[in-house]
Assembly symmetry: C2
Homo-oligomer: 349 residues x 2
DNA sequence: TGTTAGCACTCAGCGTTGTGGAGTGCTAAT
DNA sequence: ATTAGCACTCCACAACGCTGAGTGCTAACA
């Protein structure tokens, strides 16, 4: 649709402007372009074209008699049409992932850190969530007179536990029975598949201990709408200071706050997790981002899938003039490394 | 020792200087003091005394013809001798804690947040660690052919789990036996009390499945030296920008980075956890802090004890001219609220 | 002897000014 | 359609000078 309003020369000029701006961060003037590009045009000609491009909304002028910088629309055009695909920088990362498969927590924190130091932007990695995950195993045990421990394992081998207070002690036999009932009823179900019918049936079978079942199911549903519990690992938030356009007006510090309040980040990221099975990479430019604080930033996210249904997100937040190619490359590589890591045979000898 | 080199008047003047500086953050001049203090002295006299105080090392001059600001030694004298003890600001916090006892994670994050918004400094709260904690309950279960799940509960109701891969399937009976052996042998022991003898005995009883026992014990010891896994919740790191003496030279951004690398914070805090049973509040001024990044800050920490042996730390990091009274008050209150929370009867009706 | 008033000196902070460079838009020539 | 040239705009930055706050020192005073 849009791309027809740009002829070949305009496209080239726009491309040159953006590339240049991405590098320098300074408004770029007509003279610069007239030298930079292969099509040999004088600065005056460029000026005319730039005036057109500005009218079309692809670039803007911070003030009269300054060069031009890309608008959101300009950036969008760039990532959609102009950007080259590359495949480099694969090595380093791949190794890193393979080596540290033991602890998911550390793995992800590491991932965030490397990504940040690689790109010089702020990064975040959300821990896998239980999206559409099936039950594998549930176990209740008495730890104490008034307390029982519920442990829940899902298909992706994610483990969750909760201590449930009960009114009185429960004998071993009841415990065993409850376990059997729970396991046989719930096994193989996804969280979403538990409905009132299931619950009623469970409670019936549990007899006098239906209250415990209730508690257990509560824990389950807690797991479901666990938005607020999503673990988010961040790194390189101070990178915001490296970009004057962000660090100037205290925006950087707002952004850092946002990164500390991991909840918000989580929300940014969950919508991708749910909506799509698209394995693609999402780019939000400026106001396209759902988080207001980031209206002067670009956000690039990717979904990874550790194991069957166990999904998380990687994200990078930087200035609009971020190096999109590099960022997307990095994301792709990391995503590939993480994908299916749980299903792969362990690296141990 | 030191305090004898200061007569009464010098003490009063030093006190006035520091209090004033804490409020304003500006170097304080002789004239200000001559009006501020009750002892009616002219600015000239004050100047003489200030010259003395400077020679003694309690105050310094940022540059000629500027007022004086407290040195580290001055601050130290202040917190040790001059500071008034108060007991206010108890209300708000107490309530907060009582209401949200469900999830420790959230509780602590909340604690950090409130503390930060209360004090306007950066705060951190470390999650409880298993220091000297006793076993209460251990359970192995088969989740899969090649995998068993080990769940460990400690005295403080902290739950830890790990999935252990095994070579072949294990029948239910063996499982049961292993559980019994583990529980009966380990019950009531602290992590430190497991020695080679215990291990040997366990393995012997386990027979052919001693390898599993080995794995379990590995998990246990992992829990022990879990320094690197200490959870740290931070909040208000951007508060550093509120204090020019920190935000100027990019120190703030270094500090924020330090707060992102939670490991370092953990190390700052663990020494208190281990060394002392002192329930006191620690104050590090400037270079007294073990973390180099914080040489221009003061750090105040307190140890809380959620339950028997389940300890964590609360800490506040701010400029040297922080409001020590307020900070220590807040820490005390929060500490009191957290202390013994696990042992208290639940607030539910 | 301790305290005070007065004076000369220092220095950071701030607003003012002016200059240079980069960039634009427009017009006229090619 | 493209280009060269010119006048204009505006930001960035350095230089300047002023002001206010503060000191140290000396001389007078109780």
């Amino acid at each position: 649709m849009d791309e027809f309003e740009l002829d070949d020369r305009k496209t080239k000029i726009l491309n040159a402007i953006i590339r240049n701006y991405l590098k320098t961060g300074e408004p770029v003037g007509s003279r610069t372009i007239s030298k930079y590009t292969d099509l040999n045009l004088s600065s005056a000609t460029i000026r005319n074209e730039m005036a057109d491009l500005e009218e079309l909304g692809y670039i803007v002028q911070p003030h009269t008699s300054a060069g031009r910088i890309p608008s959101d629309k300009g950036y969008r055009f760039y990532v959609d049409h102009l950007m080259a695909e590359k495949d480099r920088e694969v090595d380093e990362m791949k190794q890193f992932v393979i080596e540290h498969t033991e602890k998911v927590d550390h793995l992800l924190q590491q991932a965030a850190r490397i990504l940040a130091s690689n790109t010089n932007y702020a990064t975040m990695v959300t821990a896998p969530s239980y999206q559409g995950n099936k039950f594998k195993f549930i176990q209740l045990s008495c730890v104490d007179e008034g307390q029982i421990l519920a442990v829940i394992v899902t298909d992706g081998n994610l483990v969750k536990n909760k201590i449930i207070p009960v009114s009185g002690p429960i004998d071993n036999e009841t415990m065993l029975k409850l376990n059997i009932v729970l396991n046989s009823t719930l096994n193989g179900l996804t969280l979403a598949e538990i409905n009132l019918g299931t619950i009623a049936r469970l409670k019936e079978q549990a007899g006098i201990h239906s209250d415990i079942i209730g508690e257990v199911l509560d824990t389950l549903s807690e797991m479901m709408l666990q938005e607020d519990d999503i673990r988010v690992y961040t790194s390189g938030t101070t990178n915001f200071f490296k970009y004057p356009e962000l660090s100037d007006t205290g925006k950087a510090s707002e952004l850092i706050s946002t990164f500390e309040e991991k909840q918000q980040l989580a929300s940014l990221v969950t919508e991708n997790l749910l909506d799509e099975n698209s394995t693609g990479i999402q780019v939000y430019i400026g106001n396209e981002s759902p988080i207001q604080t980031m209206k002067d930033c670009s956000v690039v996210t990717a979904v990874y899938e550790l194991g069957e249904g166990v999904r998380g997100t990687i994200g990078i937040v930087g200035p609009k003039r971020m190096d999109y190619e590099k960022v997307m490359d990095n994301l792709k590589v990391l995503k590939n490394s993480l994908d299916g890591i749980l299903n792969k045979p362990k690296g141990k000898t």
